[in-house]
């Protein structure tokens, strides 16, 4: 098997295959999501790919009413906000993600700490499929 470098490009290719991957330092065992090529705990460079279970809890969130152009194209606006957040995975690392399956117009019903599971969203960017992370309540 070709050895994949621990890059954002390879990470995104895994996302396209619906795999949430991190990298683990073989020397000290530190785990990183998204993957890092250099261990920031021990400066080890011998890393391995690890697939995450895809479950975690909501660490923090926001419901956005004024989004960037690509979100406006998806139909979000002041009347239809969307939710993004930081998810702490069961493995202990964090990722940024869209939060689905909740009501972004009623943020008071969204709770920090709620358990979540991964799903994947797609959009086209310059004709290419782009997958990005989302989570929804378990």
């Amino acid at each position: 098997m070709e050895k994949k470098i621990f890059s954002d490009i390879e990470y995104n290719k895994y996302l396209n295959k619906k795999k949430l991957m991190g990298s683990k330092c073989k020397k000290c065992g530190s785990l990183f999501t998204p993957p890092r090529p250099i261990c920031i705990d021990c400066y080890g460079t011998d890393m391995e790919w690890v697939e995450m279970k895809g479950t975690g809890k909501l660490a923090a969130f926001t419901c956005i009413s004024i989004g960037p152009p690509f979100m406006i194209e998806e139909g979000f606006d002041r009347k239809h906000p969307y939710c993004v957040g930081v998810v702490e995975l069961d493995e202990g690392t964090k990722v940024d993600a869209r939060i689905e399956g909740i009501d972004p117009a009623r943020p008071e019903t969204i709770k920090v700490g709620m358990p979540l599971a991964v799903k994947y969203l797609h959009r086209k960017k310059k004709g290419e499929k782009l997958t990005y992370l989302a989570f929804e309540p378990v």
């Binding site: 999501t33 956005i64 940024d96 993600a97 700490g113």
Partner: protein
Amino acid sequence: MKKRKLGRGVAVIGAGMTKFGMYKNKDSKDLFTEAFNETIASVDKGFDPNEIEALYLGNFSNDFFVHQAHWAPMISDLIGLSPKPATRTEGACASSALAFREGVFAIASGFYDIVLVGGVEDMSKVSTEEVAEGLALATVPYEGRVGFTFPGVFGVIATAYFAKYGASHRDLMNVTIKSHNNAPFNPKAQIPFTIRDMMNAKIERAKAKGRPAPQWKDEIEFLSDLSANPPVAWPMHLYDCCPISDGASCMILAAEEIAGNFTDKPLKVIGIGQGSGRGFHSAKSLTSFEATQNAAKEAYGMSGLKPEDIQFSEVHDCFSIAEIIHTEDLGFFKKGEGYKAVRDGLTRLDGPIPINTSGGLKSKGHPVGATGTSQLVEVWKQLRNEAGERQVKKKNLRIGAAHNLGGTGGTCTFTILERR
């Protein structure tokens, strides 16, 4: 940590800035001209611009906002400095604090004796959505990809803070009200009105149009009304966010040993710190800024001062929650106590540690590349007893500071000035 020190002393001998605002008919060159002329005129014993040996210019993203990059030589040419060296510094919203820092190092190293530092940004010529997109260039890619905006980043920090310490959006309103209470006294402020002024103006406008007048009994009720204060990135509402601004600011730095040739009231740079941060995915805490903590450690270490020695400070309040968290990270209050300090009035103009006497980014405005030095312009005004009605009335006022944040905490600085 190793005690940091400069190779030789550096002083501020002049400072100036434009009024911040949204200017249809002024571009970056026009704005910098105003700030520069005010700066030259501010030097007590007079100043010949030929004495400037180099320029350090902060600019975040005129590349995006007006589709023109490479501003340092353009500004250098504008003010007659070319062919002397001009260098652009980029640290998102902390761009000109980095220009200040590079200028300090250039003099401290002995290479130059007098330099000009400053910043400029021209943001208002594009739509609000485009400004949001431009600012989001300074989020980390993992955040931008899933749809984070800048207000969204601080919305996340706010929900994390609320969950950890039991604060609520109401606590953030106190920050907004406090900062706006200082703004009418700052002739350079973009929004020189208190929240009560703006609330009353809305009531009067409704009456004048023959509509039923809103019944807000105080600022908190006004800010709690979603029709008056709609969410931008919940829990960040309109009045939690600084405005879109154009503006410029600058300062003249000189070697301490020659500062007396220009003024009898130079300000000495006694602490200068910087830190770098990481995105949410890698942050140790969602309720602290590591970069600010590192900047504070460097600046306090160099100056030998403690947080309680700082008599007043400008603190980067791009969003209300940012001011609260940074006042904790800078050591003014314990973690989780910042929101109570604002509620109890400790950061008011007449409080024990006045924060954002200028009105802060919230009411003074935030032309990102110009903000860092503009905060230091406020420290200059205060320490020279030239701040008019917003003057901090403390006995022996001599030490003030400014904290500047760039990006999502990717670049933070903390600078302490002393009047000698």
